[in-house]
Point group: D2
Chain length 408, copies 4
């Protein structure tokens, strides 16, 4: 399969984040990433995505080693830790390429929740925390998890409903509470855990996964299966952590966790855009080669309408991703502009990707709902994207309030 027509509309990769012409231009890295995913990831993805085998660590380590050799490992990991240290604009090119496979992002060490956690750690970690947590995570030596969401009536979209508590104890803190949708927990080396602390605020803690007070329960049976480490239930039961387990400032957790938000939303969007593009290309190739009612399916106007709508959705999603990436790089991930733009982009892209995959399923006909075909799994795996990292409804609400505030 050659350069897809959608590539026609891709904005030129600017020279902002890499020396022009060099092997390390974002466009070149994206091309290498695309080739890497096709050669190394496509051959092994079916057993994870279709057959439902959980991604084991041996496979992750092997793929990441191959990525390293291909020069595409660690797009967002700092250069000092063996990564490519790309800025957000460059990531837009590279993660779209990695996203062509659902396990492409983990293969290059840029999958959720590690991607956002790397950002959070880079923003908040002390030197010692960086050495113990950020560096091995960025190097792909370990995986991490994010323990924020709680079963009802605890914290969901509304973080202020946090029920998990951390009480001061001599030399540290005792965390108690139940979390769920703890992405990546199964097999992670540590969790980033948010807990309510005295005074009405929240505090972020770094908790080693082998802490005896932390129990990883079952993987929740979510529609998506391909997230490394799954989405788990996790219990903190008098879980003691030392004082230096506090990430950032005590009581500032609600504000400081925001440092993950814009980056994780935009990176999520980049990877899923890659899935949509691949499915779009698969569908186009397929309908050119199938006949019905006396012509190639590709010759029927209603199929063409789906193809055009997919092309339009992908072009708009990509343009938004690149535009928001620039906002994040120029104004900072914590700026109001970045938060507004990433909320808009995550909402639009998650819905556009869903529409694209849904149309692709229709274009496949009966086989579109048969898990023999990757596209059936793509659709099911994608459903959570409109909810994880902020449901569309909550994002729309926040977008509207930000707009309307200017008029009060």
């Amino acid at each position: 399969m050659n350069a897809a027509p959608t590539a026609l509309t891709a904005p030129a990769a600017g020279s902002a984040s890499a020396a022009p012409g060099a092997d390390s231009s974002p466009r070149r890295i994206a091309e290498r990433t695309k080739a890497f995913v096709q050669e190394h990831v496509f051959p092994v993805e079916r057993e994870i995505i279709v057959d439902g085998r959980p991604m084991d660590d041996a496979l992750r380590v092997r793929l990441q080693e191959e990525a390293r050799q291909a020069g595409v490992f660690g797009p967002l990991s700092p250069v000092a830790y063996g990564g490519l240290g790309l800025d957000t604009r460059a990531l837009a090119h590279v993660l779209e390429a990695a996203g062509a496979s659902l396990i492409g992002p983990i293969a290059v060490n840029a999958s959720a929740p590690d991607d956002g956690n790397i950002h959070l750690l880079a923003h908040l970690a002390t030197a010692e925390q960086a050495r113990r947590y950020l560096e091995p995570l960025a190097r792909g030596e370990v995986r991490s998890s994010l323990a924020v969401s709680e079963p009802s009536p605890g914290a969901g979209s509304d973080l202020t409903m946090l029920r998990t508590t951390a009480e001061k104890a001599p030399g540290g803190w005792k965390i108690n509470g139940v979390k769920h949708f703890v992405t990546g927990a199964d097999g992670a080396a540590f969790s980033i855990c948010m807990a309510a602390t005295a005074g009405g605020g929240a505090t972020i803690f770094l908790v080693d996964q082998d802490n005896p007070g932390l129990t990883v329960g079952r993987r929740m049976p979510t529609l998506d299966h391909s997230a490394p480490g799954g989405h788990c239930e996790v219990t903190f039961d008098d879980c003691f952590v030392p004082d230096d387990a506090v990430l950032g400032e005590v009581g500032k957790g609600f504000e400081q966790i925001q440092a993950r938000l814009a980056p994780s939303r935009i990176m999520f969007s980049m990877s899923w855009l890659g899935v949509a593009i691949r499915a779009h290309e698969m569908a186009a190739a397929r309908i050119v080669g199938r006949e019905a009612f006396g012509a190639a399916v590709a010759g029927h106007g209603m199929a063409q309408a789906h193809v055009a709508d997919n092309e339009i959705d992908i072009a708009a999603a990509r343009a938004l991703v690149h535009s928001t990436a620039a906002v994040i790089d120029e104004r900072g991930a914590l700026s109001g502009a970045a938060r507004h733009a990433s909320a808009i982009t995550k909402t639009f892209v998650s819905e556009a990707v869903w529409r694209v995959l849904d149309r692709v399923v229709q274009l496949y006909g009966g086989l579109g709902v048969c898990e023999d075909e990757l596209v059936a799994r793509f659709l099911v795996e994608a459903r959570g994207f409109r909810i994880y990292e902020g449901p569309s409804e909550v994002l729309r609400w926040s977008i509207a309030r930000r707009v309307l505030r200017a008029y009060r």
Copy 2:
């Protein structure tokens, strides 16, 4: 949970198909069916729908016996065969009630493909064929399957691409070919098989499942798991059937199979409407009891918009179903009016149900994509409805051509 508000908009059940006031009015049967499904089917549905255990025949037989005792068995089976013999208008009330569970229709012996097959047999079977095939099927003694679709480049939406052939042999026919998406094949007693015969036409055959020339292959890994007998691959290999296995006329298969179409599309719509209503009610109950951002979720305008849109979609879908049911009863299932109306209704209802379930998932938030909750499975199971029995695109094409023909 009390009478749902959607019931407010339900048209009165006319007296067309049953003595008014009697226990056998469609409305009364629907109420009994609703109660039956809640009491007998809800308690056992999770292991099939969520846990993925295939529906076995022991469970089917048990549920159907309970249905018989509740007076709700066989809504579309002829009275002579122990059924209720309801007309399409009455079925609209009853199958919506049965559809509240994905295994409700099989529990009352009104699930695909048996429902359409009963119609086809009632229309075409000789007395002997009726005795051997229709009667046990209508009585719930056996299940049946429908072997029409073929792998590419065979028959899909375009039946004329049929590759399976039946050649005349002494005293009968030899069928050769490969079918897929053979709904219900695993455990069925017989298949209704379409094959190309000399002269350019097609012929419908009744093939006993234990015919040595018929091999049921694997259940295809479709997104929907709850169809009794699955969707299977089936091979016909020099499969000999006697002359009296021909259903209807030799060479008239393309025309005669249409007798299934309007009934199966409208009954499919009725059952799925039941699923949508149940999910809508579950979501309404849930958001009344959950809080976020300082109020019940049910108090937030964006949640209310989803609830209203669901109510509207359900009301419109139900009105179309009832209106089309009247067309089928008054003009006959083979009339152009019935085919047009049922194509419109299947297209609208399959898309409306999808929208409803999709909004319900959003209303559930994270748990909406977790298979602990039925609604996650409902969404995935429903995806095929927009493709099975005619993809929306093919139906739209046929609808448009029928409209435009009048102006040529």
Copy 3:
């Protein structure tokens, strides 16, 4: 142009409201109405709809006289007053036919706001009020207007914001306030006016248009031009009305005005459905006869998709209208069921009609936005339908609250 294919899906006109077989069956009246509109209204509609000449009373009187002779005058007027006295189910057939022209409803004396006012008067008027107001209105001798909405910050969708007041005076009331969107005011014989009265409630008054305290201001420049009498600004300035001008009970206006609501919403829906059907038929005829890109426009899949979507929207809208008409007839216009169903129906139909007209404009291409073609005016005229009689957002809110109330 012959029977349109959409007619295929029309439910049979029941015998509920007229003797079967007779000339007065709803279906027969609808057919006569269709013929009347084509013969008498189509030839004169352009100067009103396209050229923008306001409908004058001479034309109205002439058309209504022709309607009387054609046996189609007064579908909702009581038989005692020379009307046909049809119930809501029958009206669904007849007003759809009348609606084929934007001035069809006024030609048969069934246009807003007279239609709702007739219902309100029939419900609330004393014998003397009926003689003075209902009878001439029902007979088509006069037109009426409805003075409820007020400029901001007065009553709009939220009636409780009512600013117009009526104070008790000897022998009557003094009304003061400003109204706008007073439909039909220019040339009306009387207004139905809502005003706040002591004690926190509202009261409905019948005000003769020649009352010196009532001043009809300008016709507001609304996008729709074809409403007889326009939408006017009206001022009540110490407008004295006698005690017997009170319609219904003093202080019960908020509740009693609801008697208009379900009927006016459903009749509005019926007429607009007629417009959509006509535009759909015009578009189908047109694209069959036009060529582009080597084939009739009707042969292109994207045009066919529009045609199919229009057919589906029309069928669903019609089914909802008929289903809600039955609810109104069976449970009464004031029942919660009728209010819920009519809110759903008005929301869906107003949006479906808009989609249909919008697609028709696309099918016409450039001429679709040229007022030489009726369809361009249809689109513009239709825009208010999603706002008048309750904006979709307010209706969705009320629908959701009614649904959710059952779960609290």
Copy 4:
């Protein structure tokens, strides 16, 4: 009204087309244009847009003189001709600002069809043609028109159906035919006319408007009124033009007219985006200040959903516009990439603008459909945008074919 929140998501204006920091950076010019439109254009727009007075040349000349003094005249006119000579990326900022008023683009001399004609002339004109036609057009001394579309069965979206002919005559050509939708014809100095010439091709001609063989007929009553010079019917009757009236090459008209396409589509999108943003800002301001049902309208979730959807649509439209502008600048307006990207962008933006304006009308309630409010006119004026310069259906078809071609 201050900087709207939508500005948050605007990509930074690159330095590609102007010296950074200087007064002539695109961002600075856009700011000046915004201020100019607010100060000079807003005060006079109502009589054109609402009251329907055709834009006369005196007003155009006055506004353009004021634009010149404000340093915002001629954004796309060459610097040599007194313009700003901006590239497409810079225009994206400036025309969005100009578009805040429907007559903003003409006020800065960047309205259709002159904008596309300037591009076409810059691409094809001889030095002498540039002197006679391009220079006065770019300087705002004259307006131009575009005579391509023809009444059925002539050229519309399908240019190959061209009926107007040009026959060789001694020293020149004789043009015969009828055109319609000739944008700008009333008052233009010349027309760019496409006519079929011998050999199956087409040729583009420059025809002075005072040519006795050219007759400008009526302004067509299109829904949009604000286009300078209207959309007219034009007849060519033995219209003689000399040999040097040929623009480009004889017989290459079909190919060469494409030089207008990408630029005119993208500039059209930029201006209309400006309208959408203004309407969005007006609606936000309004609903903050209006009450209903016990809270500001801005506090109701369904209103917030509209605001958020508008913000999302605007952000996506803007991102696409900027991304496509970069493609045009980098690969050239005639490249396949530019044509593909501009078709995608025009389709998306025209539909997004329509959705935004439609939601704004709902947010305004009754007054949204009253021409007292600009937003009512905005909606009606915008309807043509989805058809002019290529209807969405034709564009989707072309987009799909370009995508699918790569797989054949």
